[in-house]
């Protein structure tokens, strides 16, 4: 059965790109080391051999020009996938992302369409230190004109990446580096997961955990542990952070009356703050406890495994957050 075939998260990304390149000759990829080398995380492996140098382009180490290439090529009719190796490098390209890609359509009164996907790899856990480990999604979600996607598993990766490529707006696909090797059944055919639609990973009645990317998997581990204590967790993975599936989150909050939001990013000013705020605006009367936010401390990501392992939230810190929320009467 094809549904039983397993792919890693990295392979799921690669298959989505490959299938969309087969389907649409206007799709091309450009980025650092993505050609013969296949990308530093292997996510573009074999694509240049399959589609040629014209459609899988090795670029200079020039993040502004890489994103600018996507802006100019998309606004003139192609469907680019431009890769910024590490998410931290969005900062190098921020003008082209924020002031150009996100705004051209609006500034032109609608007279522009930018069907481009920016792919990048975020998250810590590799002792890559403060410039190669960040989770900067909140910066992107704050910008009108961008869509932001962070898959938590191989199935979602393929479906969301296909939707990103088909999307007619600038979209940022953030791969999590620690999930690249995660393996799970992925259908062979091309399928899309709609952007802006979240997923109830685990239904439950006592408390809602909203978690995305790697934290969704940590939440699953936490829920298993908590189930043994008699706490039934519902886990919601928004999958897309911009636009955010607020309805799904609010419905769950109204049902369980208690919410914990878990993100790997620095807690202050993160997506969790936005989600918590929306919940108190839209479901205040249903809450039995303040919405709790799990996130990283207010410091850059540290290098030493002894520090980084304590810095990044995990199943343990999520479980503690849930217990604290459950303790409120």
């Amino acid at each position: 059965m094809s549904d039983e075939r397993k792919l890693t998260y990295a392979q799921a990304f690669n298959e989505a790109v490959s299938q969309m390149m087969e389907a649409d000759p206007d799709v091309f990829c450009a980025g650092e080391d993505i050609g013969a080398f296949g990308g530093v995380f292997g996510t573009f492996a074999g694509l240049q051999a399959k589609f040629g140098e014209k459609r899988v382009v090795d670029t200079p180490i020039s993040e502004q020009a890489i994103v600018g290439l996507g802006v100019g090529a998309s606004v003139t009719g192609l469907r680019p996938i431009v890769d910024l190796m590490f998410m931290d490098f969005i900062c190098v390209a921020f003008d082209q992302i924020v002031n150009q890609a996100a705004k051209l359509k609006y500034m032109f009164g609608g007279d522009a369409t930018l069907p481009m996907t920016i792919t990048t790899a975020g998250g810590g856990g590799l002792s890559a230190a403060a410039q190669h480990s960040q989770s900067l999604e909140a910066l992107l979600c704050h910008i009108p004109g961008l869509k932001v996607v962070m898959p938590s598993n191989p199935y979602d990766m393929k479906g969301l990446m296909i939707s990103c490529i088909k999307e007619n707006n600038p979209t940022v696909m953030i791969k999590h580096k620690r999930l690249l090797g995660m393996s799970a059944p992925v259908p062979t055919e091309a399928y899309g997961i709609p952007l802006g639609k979240g997923n109830i990973i685990r239904p439950g009645k006592d408390v809602t955990i909203v978690a995305y990317a790697r934290m969704a998997n940590e939440a699953i581990s936490a829920a298993k542990e908590l189930a043994e204590e008699g706490i039934d967790c519902e886990i919601i993975d928004p999958r897309t952070l911009q636009p955010l599936d607020t309805d799904l989150i609010i419905d769950s909050a109204k049902k369980t009356n208690r919410v914990v939001v878990a993100q790997e990013a620095v807690r202050f000013g993160g997506l969790g703050a936005e989600i918590a705020s929306q919940i108190q605006e839209l479901a205040f009367d249903y809450l039995d406890a303040p919405v709790s936010r799990i996130g990283a401390p207010f410091s850059p990501v540290p290098f030493s495994p002894a520090l980084e392992s304590q810095y990044i939230p995990d199943a343990k810190s999520i479980a503690k957050g849930v217990r604290d929320v459950m303790a409120r009467r």
């Binding site: 014209k54 290439l69 606004v75 082209q96 032109f108």
Partner: protein, 327 residues
């Protein structure tokens, strides 16, 4: 190169259209009828006109904060331009972009740009798409001397050469980056010296001479179209008005004498004299052209003034392209 009298009249007309549009915009700004910033192109008309006169309708250009001239030279419509400057719903950008983001993608004009240097990487993307499709289209990145000091420009120039793209880098060297003279901000006199560092040919032209600019542009555009890769044109030019607005704001940063010397080399009047001298045109021809285009400008101002402002329900429209095809 010898250019036909029709081509000379075409280049002249582009320049006069720019001049009239810009002077009208300047007058409106001084009368407080235009919101926001205004960066006038007066004095530099020969550059946009000479270059765009070498392009086809489906070629692409990117522009700068001083972008009206590029759109006019690419065939921009006065009515929609003037309405945009006034923030009206009938403007090119429906009142959402204004002077600094004026654009018409159907003319291949991919936007004036409020960020110095940001247009060049976008032109590289357009050039990439043009090469990818193989229809012989080219892209031109217009940029000022000041923008060659920002990283985005260097990345764009290097990538264009590395990928051997059909692009022309057209530098308008007006000797000032905003209010600071070029010699305070770079240790070279000629921006074109940078071209060799990226591996592309470059040429300096008199940016007040539309024929000189056009000649260089025809060669550079043809090279790009034939697969010969990027090249750079540095046009030495001058803005007659201020960095933004018409009058000098604050302290004087250039001498009256300097401005007067450059004004003697007015790209339109010197070209008219030459056309008359060469027997291509008469003064009466020019009087008719100016009168005709003045009427167009008057109509555009009227059109813009009569146009409605956008309604507040439009604030959140055009942020995203709808997947169902609507805006």
């Amino acid at each position: 190169m010898d250019f036909s009298s029709a081509k000379q009249f075409d280049l002249h007309r582009r320049m006069v259209r720019i001049r009239l549009f810009e002077e009208a915009a300047g007058r409106l700004a001084e009368a407080n009828k235009l919101p926001g910033f205004l960066h006038l192109y007066v004095g530099e008309e020969a550059v946009a006109s000479g270059v765009c006169g070498a392009l086809n309708d489906d070629d692409h250009i990117t522009s700068t904060h001083r972008g009206h001239g590029h759109l006019v030279a690419k065939g921009g419509d006065f009515n929609r331009m003037m309405a945009e400057l006034m923030g009206k719903s009938t403007g090119y950008c429906k009142g959402k972009g204004g002077s600094m983001h004026i654009s018409d993608t159907s003319l291949g004009m991919l936007g004036a740009n409020g960020i110095v240097g940001a247009g060049s990487p976008i032109a590289v993307g357009a050039a990439f798409a043009n090469k990818y499709r193989g229809r012989g289209q080219v892209a031109v990145a217009f940029f000022g001397d000041g923008s060659t000091n920002i990283g985005a420009f260097h990345e764009a120039a290097n990538m264009a050469c590395a990928l051997h793209l059909p692009i022309v880098f057209a530098c308008e060297n007006n000797e000032y980056g905003e209010f600071t003279p070029r010699d305070k901000t770079m240790a070279i006199t000629d921006v074109v010296d940078r071209a060799a560092g990226y591996g592309m040919p470059g040429v300096i032209v008199d940016g007040m001479d539309v024929i000189a600019v056009h000649e260089a542009a025809v060669e550079a555009v043809e090279r790009a179209r034939q697969g010969g890769g990027p090249s750079m044109i540095e046009a030495k030019t001058y803005r007659f008005y201020n960095h933004h607005g018409v009058q000098n704001l604050g302290l004087k940063y250039r001498s009256d004498e300097e401005v007067a010397v450059w004004k003697l080399r007015d790209p339109i009047f010197t070209f008219e004299d030459r056309m008359i001298e060469n027997g291509v045109a008469t003064r009466a021809n020019f009087d008719d052209i100016w009168a005709e285009l003045r009427a167009d400008i008057d109509n555009a101002i009227q059109f813009a003034e009569d146009s409605p402002y956008p309604t507040p329900d439009q604030i959140t429209v055009n942020v995203y392209t709808s997947m169902t095809g609507a805006n």
